[in-house]
């Protein structure tokens, strides 16, 4: 294999492992797998292990961790990881009520694509997306890759308030806003699901490496699910 594999220091309390510089499912799968193995192996002094698109960061307490032990462990785990297939993770189904006031930018995405709003919805619901990484806010998953036909760029003027549950597109990425936050992505619909719910047994709907499908639901169904969610 001639793939990139570099370990760089990121200050005195973190290491950064780099794989090929591309947004790619197989490369991301290696990063996710390495991060998972490092978490399980519980190296002394390690505080957090974080995978992103093509990198893994290992945060440690410099007074507790043995840096050379950590480097050796990363190299050994990497050797184990390379032959593994892309993790066959669970499929998460996300119901979405598209358009109208719950998806105020659907029309704009349709104009970008030169097609009808229904066509945009058909294309958005036709793909299975991969969660490449989480960031921006607790539970916010960067998913891809969005079909190039509907890959509308970010809005020129970000909104100061995007409602929680908003389903959005930004270029070849799609995601769900877990909290009401500012945001510049194109809002095409809304889901009754909560990507982050601090009170749930598992507060996080999306995890790195997960597979996601969006499914169109009508407004009545959306409202019913919201009500059911509040009264389980």
């Amino acid at each position: 294999m001639n793939d990139v594999f570099r370990i760089l220091p990121a200050g005195d309390a973190a290491l950064l492992v780099e794989f090929d510089e591309r947004v790619d499912e197989a490369i991301n799968a290696r990063a996710v797998a390495l991060a998972e193995k490092l978490r399980i192996s519980r190296v002394r002094g390690v505080l957090d292990v974080v995978s992103a698109y093509r990198t893994v960061a290992i945060y440690f307490d410099p007074l507790q961790a043995d840096r050379s032990e950590l480097l050796a462990r990363i190299a050994a785990l990497r050797a184990d990881a390379v032959d593994e297939p892309v993790a066959s993770s669970e499929l998460i189904r996300v119901p979405v009520c598209y358009g109208a006031e719950l998806g105020p930018d659907l029309g704009q995405v349709a104009r970008f694509a030169g097609m009808t709003e229904n066509d945009v919805v058909s294309i958005h619901t036709a793909s299975t997306y991969r969660v490449f990484m989480l960031g921006f806010a607790p539970g916010f998953a960067y998913m891809g890759k969005v079909d190039t036909r509907i890959a509308a760029p970010r809005r020129d003027m970000p909104r100061t308030r995007v409602p929680a549950g908003s389903v959005a597109i930004a270029g070849r990425q799609t995601g769900v806003y877990p909290l009401e936050t500012p945001g510049g992505w194109q809002l095409i619909g809304r889901t009754p699901l909560k990507p982050f719910d601090a009170r749930a047994a598992d507060p996080f709907l999306f995890k790195p490496g997960a597979r996601v499908r969006f499914e169109a639901v009508g407004r009545n169904e959306y409202e019913r699910m919201i009500t059911a969610g509040h009264d389980p």
């Binding site: 760089l8 220091p9 990121a10 200050g11 005195d12 309390a13 973190a14 950064l16 510089e21 591309r22 947004v23 991060a35 505080l47 957090d48 292990v49 974080v50 995978s51 992103a52 698109y53 093509r54 990198t55 960061a57 945060y59 410099p62 007074l63 990484m133 989480l134 960031g135 921006f136 806010a137 607790p138 539970g139 916010f140 998953a141 960067y142 877990p178 909290l179 936050t181 982050f196 601090a198 507060p203 996080f204 995890k207 790195p208």
Partner: protein
């Protein structure tokens, strides 16, 4: 048994509950938060005999007025404020007793941006994902996910009752190695995405902390840095102390509340021992960056650890 509480008469400008941070959930997008000056947080806890992980109050620029309902040992470290209890001055650098039903009032600030107030027993807000730290942008942790407001009541952990032994604790300020406004850095991780002289440029003159700076990060004004291969990278994890450089070339120093990922190259990273030096900078203050070696970074951290251990006994 009622473990005691603090009633907020005046909240100050930005007073939040912080422990050592919410580690272990960054891969799920959860920011670490925690103290902007971790060392001062640990010092304050050490002075009242708390574990370092106990939650303190981080007090920013303008301090609060707090009423204690039971008698507590209290210590304040980091930024220096004039403090009074019932009009009488309070010593700094050592623990002091706040009598039951009395008010601790923060007055004028002498130096530093952030003070840490530790109470014996710690601030007892609920744990959220294993931490009591407040992250205001995501409304997580601390007291109701926000900064303190007038009429809040904070519960305290049980006092540990070893007060006579603690009364003699002092900060021996000569025993650790911090110089206001000087932040030592190590290069990288994207050192190779900048002009060859970029590390010299960041050391060539002090950077001023701009007014649009907060717990997420400091916008810095000073010598511009030039990218050699574009100003965007595929988003990757961020570190507290990362000097991230967007396209315009003015660096951003990422701090405690930073988002977990970022898409700009990072020229250098502040060393752990000097994070608190940065954390003590207020808007308008200058920060001078100085390249150091991994050995110096570790030595500085060990010096701080010795100072803490000397107090913890």
């Amino acid at each position: 048994m009622n473990a005691g509480s603090i009633y907020v008469q005046r909240p100050g400008l930005l007073t939040t509950v912080q422990d050592l941070g919410r580690w272990g959930f960054q891969s799920l997008g959860v920011p670490v938060a925690g103290p902007m000056d971790p060392f001062a947080h640990c010092l304050a806890n050490a002075l009242v005999g708390n574990d370092r992980r106990a939650a303190t109050l981080e007090i920013t620029l303008v301090g609060p007025e707090l009423e204690f309902d039971d008698e507590r040992l209290v210590a304040v470290a980091g930024a220096k404020f004039d403090m009074t209890i019932g009009g009488a001055g309070v010593p700094s650098g050592c623990p002091f007793v706040v009598p039951a039903q009395s008010r601790l009032r923060f007055g004028p600030r002498q130096h530093g941006a952030r003070a840490y107030l530790a109470v014996e027993g710690g601030i007892d807000v609920p744990l959220v994902l294993g931490s009591r730290s407040t992250h205001v942008p995501s409304a997580m942790g601390g007291h109701a996910g926000r900064a303190l407001a007038r009429a809040d009541r904070l519960l305290l952990g049980p006092p540990h009752g070893s007060r006579t032994r603690l009364a003699s604790r002092r900060i021996a300020s000569a025993s650790f190695d911090r110089e206001p406004g000087r932040v030592r850095v190590l290069p990288g991780p994207q050192r190779d995405r900048f002009d060859d002289d970029a590390i010299d440029v960041i050391q060539s003159a002090p950077y001023v902390v701009a007014s649009e700076s907060d717990r997420m990060g400091f916008r810095l004004l000073g010598p511009a840095l030039r990218h050699s291969r574009g100003a965007e990278i595929i988003s990757e994890p961020t570190m507290m102390g990362s000097l991230q450089v967007p396209g315009a070339g003015q660096p951003l120093l990422l701090m405690a509340d930073r988002q977990t990922t970022g898409g700009y190259p990072k020229i250098a990273t502040a060393i752990s021992a000097d994070l608190g030096v940065a954390g003590q900078a207020a808007p308008g203050d200058a920060i001078s960056f100085k390249l150091c070696t991994p050995g110096e970074a570790l030595a500085a951290l060990i010096a701080g650890e010795r100072a803490l251990l000397a107090i913890e006994g």
